[in-house]
């Protein structure tokens, strides 16, 4: 089902997002009161929350220009070296800007 963002649609989407997020914040505590979350479920949740980020990146890699790809490579490299997200992101964005300016 598609929602038009014109009119009140955007607000509705934000409210739905807020409710889904609230369900994740409350759900773990609520469920634990009845049955402990088991090992398999834990494994699934951990693997899924990383995979969704990978999936979101996919089109950026497929459709991205060389600036975009260089930015991602830089971010990964800096993150591996420095292990801090902010410098990794800033370097990635800077490389994208530079490569687009130079090419």
């Amino acid at each position: 089902m598609d929602i038009e963002t014109a009119g009140g649609g955007a607000l509705l989407v934000v409210l739905v997002m807020a409710l889904v997020t609230l369900a994740t914040r409350w759900g773990g505590v609520y469920v634990m009161a009845f049955v402990p979350i088991n090992y398999r479920v834990k494994q699934f949740i951990q693997a899924m929350s990383g995979s969704v980020l990978v999936a979101l990146l996919t089109p950026m890699v497929i459709n991205g220009d060389s600036g975009a790809r260089l930015a991602l490579i830089t971010t990964a490299g800096v993150m591996l070296l420095v292990k801090k997200p902010l410098p990794a992101i800033v370097s990635g964005v800077t490389v994208a800007a530079l490569s687009r300016y130079l090419v």
């Binding site: 609520y30 693997a47 995979s51 969704v52 990146l57 600036g67 991602l72």
Partner: protein, 239 residues
């Protein structure tokens, strides 16, 4: 001062305030991410009120960035719900790990404190518990600090964002992608995780090429999740 043993699930005004102050050093980082989000959201074309409302009510960076990816004149609601759920599913684990202490609280406090649960304050409160100190003040007070700076950052970024004409030339279209990648690379790294990522990337690419629009997010998340369940890792590692 009494020598009365402090219960670990204890929470009080001074503990909440101290939690607020302990998260303050991270607030610079959170504000910076907020700026990045406000900027990206303004560039995506969201109205100011929608942007502020999203940061205030959703209060989950990665999910909010992902929402921008799906944003347009029309938004696929089901895909949005599944994406936000998949990204925020880690909150379920946070709640589960905090349960041993939260269960001593009345429901109103228990769920009230979880309103602001996020990565940084959860990690710090778990650390506090492991040191034998009460950690719920950190969870709640720290969470309030994170929320305030996230909303403040969003507001700042939104105003910058509206002033920049050609965001692509500044590389600003890559803030989201670099943020996601930093989260992925910053997480657990072993052969199992690498395999999960490869499966997620391959399946979402296939879905992107051959399946309907936006299904690549759900396909990648589920495929990775299933692989992670089948390849279970070590059952009795201490985590």
């Amino acid at each position: 001062m009494t020598h009365r043993h402090t219960e670990l699930h204890h929470v009080s005004r001074p503990l909440v305030w101290s939690g607020f102050k302990q998260l303050a050093p991270i607030s610079v980082l959170v504000t910076a991410f907020g700026v990045a989000f406000g900027l990206a959201a303004a560039q995506t074309g969201l109205h100011d009120s929608t942007i502020m409302m999203m940061s205030a009510l959703v209060f989950a960076g990665a999910a909010q960035f992902a929402a921008l990816e799906l944003w347009g004149a029309q938004i696929p609601l089901l895909t949005m719900i599944i994406t936000v759920f998949a990204i925020n599913a880690r909150h379920l684990l946070m709640g589960a790990t905090l349960y041993p202490w939260l269960r001593h609280q009345p429901p109103l406090k228990r769920y009230g404190m979880m309103l602001v649960a996020s990565d940084a304050n959860w990690a710090m409160s778990m650390q506090e518990f492991s040191r034998g100190k009460p950690g719920l003040g950190l969870l709640f007070g720290g969470g309030i600090a994170l929320w305030l700076f996230w909303v403040l950052g969003t507001w700042l970024g939104m105003h910058f964002g509206n002033a920049i004409n050609d965001p692509k030339s500044f590389g600003l279209d890559m803030v989201m992608g670099c943020f996601f990648l930093a989260l992925i690379v910053g997480g657990e790294k072993d052969v199992r995780m690498l395999f999960i990522w490869v499966v997620a990337a391959a399946s979402s690419s296939l879905a992107y090429w051959y399946l309907p629009d936006n299904s690549h997010v759900i396909v990648g998340a589920l495929a990775g999740g299933i692989v992670g369940t089948v390849w279970g890792g070590e059952q009795d590692s201490g985590h």
